[in-house]
């Protein structure tokens, strides 16, 4: 797949494509745009989200966005990358009357989250989105779903606008195991962890903008089926409740399944641009309320809450250079309440993370941009348990990255 994309991009670049290309046909017009990004990152800890270990630590990607207009009311969109043939793609039908538009989208639909939309390094202006509110650990789960979406757009006379999107579908994840908090991997066999959907999720997106001020709300209500193999050594009195069993331990080795596992996600954000500055603040909350799973006389979790916040400040030095800095943090209640009672323990900081980021985006030419970025991190929650041992992983670590994107 990557080789095919490289050939296509070489041909496009050979024709000196540096702007949107439009192809006309009997069934409408197709606009073609995209990016070719090369770059990489290195980290002071190993195996950071190495989705494909054979390629090392690269951020290389080729992405093509096709927007086809059938007529004023119908269009189709496809965004394809070298990693995902359909990153997102949907049919869109709409009806507009004066300043009001209603419409329907069907397919693999991206979540229009306004701030830190997650459409790729060529459009976000960052190499890595703030992990406190856009955790890449869970892959693409928050950004795309397969299903249907109804939307309503209203433009007001004062120049403000409101966008409502109500959706029904299944979230698309990069990695099933990535949805689990890292601490899970201390007491479960990571390779056995699975996550499916009992029913599609209900999603709601609200976007309101007025001048340089913008608000977003994303909400998702999911019901999943989770399972995994619990493998741990725990104190016997945890099972029996008998003080006489203190000091004795027992090995537990059993499959645990939780059907109809409720999970709700909420993201709220506000951004305000003034002068050469932009301030963006986002809050993220993830609440799971499963039925308690009992081991012996004690329950294994009935409420898991994760919270994250991000603040990003961007400054445009001039027309070519934008610098940004930010703070993000994320905490989870799961993990050590359950793990600390057992011999196999993970440190407290596995359940949380704090990060300061610094970056600069430089527009070398109309079609070429370079982004250099560093993250200084404390804690392990940003990293999937697939790629770290939560019991032995280090607390402080850094990540440095650089990319160059040719835009067409």
């Amino acid at each position: 797949m990557r080789a095919i994309y490289k050939i296509i991009m070489a041909l496009l670049m050979a024709t000196n494509v540096n702007a949107l290309e439009t192809v006309k046909s009997a069934i409408g017009e197709t606009d073609i745009s995209g990016h070719v990004t090369v770059g990489g990152y290195f980290t002071t800890r190993n195996n950071f989200e190495a989705g494909d270990t054979t390629d090392g630590y690269d951020l290389n990607e080729i992405g093509v966005l096709l927007y086809h207009t059938f007529n004023n009311n119908f269009s189709a969109t496809l965004y394809s990358t070298s990693d995902f043939f359909v990153d997102y793609g949907f049919l869109q039908g709409r009806y507009t009357w004066l300043d009001t538009t209603i419409g329907l989208r069907v397919g693999r639909i991206n979540v229009s989250s306004g701030l830190f939309g997650g459409y790729g390094p060529h459009s976000d202006g960052m190499n890595f989105l703030p992990q406190g509110t856009s955790p890449s650990r869970v892959g693409r789960a928050f950004f795309r779903f397969d299903g249907v979406q109804g939307y309503y757009e209203q433009m007001f006379k004062d120049g403000s606008g409101l966008i409502l999107e109500a959706s029904y579908g299944e979230h698309v994840t990069d990695s099933v195991q990535g949805v689990y908090e890292p601490a899970f991997f201390a007491i479960f066999d990571g390779s056995t962890l699975t996550a499916n959907f009992s029913r599609p999720a209900f999603l709601l997106n609200v976007n309101y903008y007025v001048g340089n001020l913008e608000f977003i709300v994303n909400y998702s209500d999911m019901l999943g089926n989770l399972s995994g193999h619990y493998s741990n050594t725990i104190p016997l009195e945890f099972l029996t409740g008998d003080p006489a069993d203190v000091g004795q331990f027992v090995e537990i080795d059993e499959d645990i399944q939780s059907d109809d596992y409720p999970s709700k996600l909420l993201k709220v954000g506000v951004a305000y641009a003034v002068g050469n500055f932009e301030h963006a603040f986002t809050y993220f909350r993830w609440v799971d309320t499963p039925e308690p799973t009992y081991i012996g006389s004690s329950s294994l979790g009935d409420l898991y809450v994760s919270d994250g916040i991000s603040y990003i400040l961007r400054y445009a030095f001039n027309y070519d250079t934008i610098a940004y800095t930010g703070y993000t943090e994320y905490t989870s209640t799961f993990g050590n309440e359950q793990i600390n009672i057992a011999l196999k323990s993970a440190p407290d900081w596995v359940d949380r993370g704090q990060s300061i980021m610094l970056g600069v985006k430089y527009q070398v030419s109309d079609s070429l941009q370079v982004i250099a970025e560093s993250h200084f991190n404390k804690g392990g929650i940003y990293l999937s348990g697939e790629f770290q041992d939560p019991v032995t992983a280090v607390e402080y670590w850094n990540l440095h990255s650089i990319t160059a994107s040719f835009l067409f």
Partner: protein, 146 residues
């Protein structure tokens, strides 16, 4: 109450945009074949933030701009929308890179701008200097803004 506050906040920006337009003589240009003769500042705003992509006569709008990071485009945006570049880039990302709207055609300079506008019936672009003398050459016309 919130709506009222926002209207009060936005109105000076739009008035400033109008005043700046009159002083700097930024022409909004369309193809000569377009039957539209005038446009309001609010319509320009909606077009260039990609919330409106159809003219009142039913013709699809094709937006022509200079490079998004260029000083000329940023100054045009500020005059007609009141948005600074960072706020606009968020709007662009949310609308265009998400595949929800049609991307603009980005040209290198004003000469290419006028040529491209003249070639597309529904297109709209802009020029910092008066283009009255160039209308015949490129097959364009200037929209009145009021």
């Amino acid at each position: 109450m919130a709506n009222k506050i926002y209207r009060i906040a936005i109105l000076p920006i739009l008035l400033y945009a109008l005043a700046s337009n009159a002083d700097e003589n930024i022409d909004i240009v369309v193809s000569k074949a377009n039957t539209i003769d005038h446009v309001s500042p609010e319509e320009i705003y909606d077009i260039f933030i990609f919330q409106n992509d159809v003219w009142n006569n039913g013709e699809p709008i094709t937006v022509i701009t200079l490079p998004l990071h260029s000083s000329e485009h940023r100054e045009f945006l500020y005059k007609y929308t009141g948005l600074n570049y960072l706020g606009y880039s968020r709007r662009f990302n949310n609308r265009i890179n998400s595949g929800r709207g049609r991307a603009p055609i980005i040209v290198k300079n004003y000469d290419e701008m006028l040529k491209t506008v003249g070639e597309h019936t529904g297109s709209v672009g802009y020029n910092e200097k008066t283009v009255t003398s160039l209308m015949e050459e490129y097959g364009i016309k200037v929209l009145e803004v009021y």
